[in-house]
Amino acid sequence: MLHNRIHLIACISWPLPIDASAHGPALDHHLLLNLWITVTLLALAHLILLIGLLGRRRSEPSSAWRIEYLPLAALALLFAFLTIRAERLWAASRYTGASLTALQVEVTGVQFAWYFRYPGPDATFGITRPSLVDPGAGNPLGLDPTDPHSADDQVSSQLVLPAGREVDLRLRAQDVIHGFSIPAMRLKQNAVPGQTIHVHFTPTTPGTYAILCTQLCGIGHYRMNATLRVLPPGQFATWQTAQQEATIR
C-alpha cells in the first residue's frame, strides 16, 4: 500500500517512461514547457473567475481592447511560439528520411503480433506475397522463396537495435490498421494496409523497452505488444551474426 502510494506520487511528478532516443529529450522538454504553460493559464483563468465571482459588484467592464483583444493578441503570440517550436521538432524528425547509412528494419503488424524483418547481408528485402502467408509453416510474412533476396532475410518477433545508430523502419500492416508505438523512444506511427510508411530514430540507451499497438485492431489489441532490445554496438553485431547463421542454416 505504501509502495503504491510512493509509486503514485512518483508517477504524478514526472509520469513519462524513460527517454532513450536521440530526439526524445527535445520532445520531453517541449512537452514539459507546454504542460507548465497549460497549468499556468488554467490557474490564471480560474483565479480571475473566482475573484470576479467573489468581489463586490461593480459596473460592467467596457474596454474591449483591454479585456478581449490584448489578451487575445498575447495568446496568439504564445500559441504561434509553441507551434513554431513544435514544427521545428516535427520537421527534424519527419520532413526528411533517414540517412543512407541507417539500419534497415521492416515492421509488419498482424492481428495480434509485430514481426521485424532484417534484410540480411545482401541489404535487400525479399519480395513478400500475401498469398504465401502461412504462420503455421513459419512464413508469417509470406516471403517468396523464388526471390533470391529473400533467402537471407531474418524475421524476428523481437526488435533488436544497436545503440547510437539511426534506424529506418518501414512500417507495413497485413490485415488492419495497427499503431506502432515505442513510448520510450517517443515514437508512434500507424501501420496501414497497402502502404509502406518510413519512420526513423536513433536509440541511445541500451535496455529493453515496450512496443505497443496503439490503434484499435480487434479483440487482441491489448495484447499486441513486443519488446525492443537496444544493445551496445558490439553485442548487436554478435546477435546479428548469430541470426544470420541461423537463417542460412
Binding site: 468581489g55 474591449a64 489578451p71 488492419v176 508505438s181 515496450a210 491489448y222 519488446t227
Partner: protein, 600 residues
Amino acid sequence: MRAFPNRFLRKCLFSTDHRIIGIQYLVLALVSVSIGTVLSLLMRIHLVWPEWPLPLHGPILPEDYLALVTIHGTIMLFFVLTTAPQAGFGNLILPSQIGARRMAFPALNTASLWLTAAALLILLSSTFVPGGAAISGWTAYPPLSAIAAAGPGQGTGMDLWLISIAFFAIASTISSINFLTTIIRNRCPGMTWERLPLTVWGWFTAALLSIIAFSVLLAAILLLLCDRHAGTSFFLPTGDLVSGVLHRGGDGSPLLWLHLFWFFGHPEVYIAILPGLGLTSMLLANFSHRRVFAYRTMIATTLLIGFLGILLWGHHMFVAGLNPFASSAFSVSTMAIALPASAKVLSWLATTWRSRPDNTTAMLFALGFVSLFITGGLTGPILAQPILDEYLHNTFFVVAHFHLIMAMAGIFGLYAATYYWFPLITATRKHPGRLLSEPLGRLHFWCTLVGAYATFLPMHFTGLMGEPRHYAQLTGIPGAGGALSPAGVLLAHAIPLNLCITYAAIFLAAAQLIFFFNLVRSLRKGTYASENPWQATTLEWHPALNPFSPLPASDQSEISVYRAPCEYQPAQANDSFLPQWEPDILTQMKMKDATHSKPE
C-alpha cells in the same frame, strides 16, 4: 373511446408540435445517457477488477469490452451530445427564442425524430445479434470495419452499426435543414441577426456544420457498406489479408475513410458543444444582470469556430500515415481555433467579473461549463502539435481531453439548460411550469463538478505514463515475460491511478441519482414557476409563447422584438431588466444613443 389510440398517436407519439418533439428528443437522450453511463461504469470496473463477472453475462471478454467502448462512444456522441443540445433543446426553445410559433417543416421534424429513435433501436439491437455489437470503436476504421472476418461483431453487428448511423445522419441532415430554414424565415418582426440570442447563433452554426458533416458521413457509410457487400474496394487495398481472407479486388485506401470520417468527426464535436457555448454566454449574462461582453465578437467567434471546425480534421491523423507537411498545415489550423475559443472564455470572464451574480443551479452549471471548457480546452493546443501527438496520440491523455471539453462541458451545458428551462419543459395549458429543487440542484452540481474532475484529471497522468486507449485489460498480458515484459510493466504502472479513476467514476455516476430524484420529484411536486422566474430577456419567456398563458387567445397575439437580448440596467433596482419583447420607446431611444456612442 375507440378513437383514443388514434388520438394518442397523432397528438403525442407522432405530434408535429415542436415542443413535444423537443421533449421526445430529450427523453431519448436521457435514456441514451443512462445506458451510456452504465456501459462506461462496466468498462471502468473491468479495467481494475478484470475477474469481476457481470451478472447474467459472466466475465467481460475482450470483445465485450470493445463492444462496450463502441456502443458507449456511439451512444454518447450521437444520441446524447448531438441529440440533446441540438435537436432536443433546439426544438423546445429555438422557435420561441426567435418569436416563432412553429418550425418551418413540422412534418419533417417528426420524421427526423422517429428516424433518430429507429437509429437508436437498431444500434441497441446490434448487441443481440450473433457475434454481438461492433468492436471497432465509434470511428470504425477499415479494414477492421470492412471485413466480417476481422473480429467478432464485425459481421451483422457492424452492418447494424452502419445502418444505425446512416439513419442518424439522414435524420440530422433533415433536422438541420429545418433549423436553418426556421431561423432564416420564421424570425418575428424586429428580430434582426444581431439581436438573435447567442444560443440561436449556436444552433444556427451547428446546423450549418451538421449539413456539411453528416452528408459526408452518410456518403462514407454507403461506400463502406458497398465494400462490405457489393465487392467494391474504396477502403480495401489489394492483397489485404484478414484472418485468412485475401482481398483480391481493387486497390483502395483505408486512409480515405479516415479523411471522410474525420471530415465529419471533427465538426461533429463542435456540433455537440456550440449550443452549449451560446447558452453559457446567455446564462452568465442573465444571472449577472449584464449584457454579454462583446456580443458581436461572440457572434463572430461562433461562426469562426464553425468555419475553422471544418478545416482541421487532419489533426486526428498526425500519425495515421498522412504526409508530414499536411500535418503541419492541420497543426496551424487547429492552433488557430484556440483563438476564437479563448475569445469566448475572455468574454465569459468579463461578463461575470465583479457582477455578484445570482448563483442559481443553472448559473452554477454554466460556471462549471466555463471551468471545464478552460481545463479541457487548454490541452487542445498540446495535442495540436504533431510532435507531441506523436507521444500522446491514442493515450488516455486524449481521452481526458475530449471527455472534459466535449463530454463533461457538454453535459454541464445540458444540465444548465435543464435547470434553466425546466419551467418551459413542464408548463402545460392547465398549469404553469415547475421549478427543479434548488437545494438538490446545488448538491447535484457540486458532486458532479468534483466527480468530473476526479474522474478525468487523473487520466492525463495515465496518458502521460503511456497507457493506450481501447485496451481491454491492463493485467494478464500474455506473451514472453507476461506481466514482467516491458509492455506489462508499462501498463502495470497505470493501475493504481486507474483504481482512483474508477472510484471517482462510480461517485460521478452515483451523483446523477440526485438529479433523477430531483427530476421525478419536481415533475409532480415542484413549485410552480412565475412567468419569467429568472428575469430573462429572451423571447422564450414571452407570456404569449408560454403554453400556460394567462392571456386569452395568446396564439394570435403579435410578437415583436425591440432590442438586443440581455439589456439590464445595473444602476437601478434589481428588477430593471428589459425583455426583448417589451416596447418602451423612451428606453429604446436611450439604448440607441448608448450603443451609438459605444466604441464596440
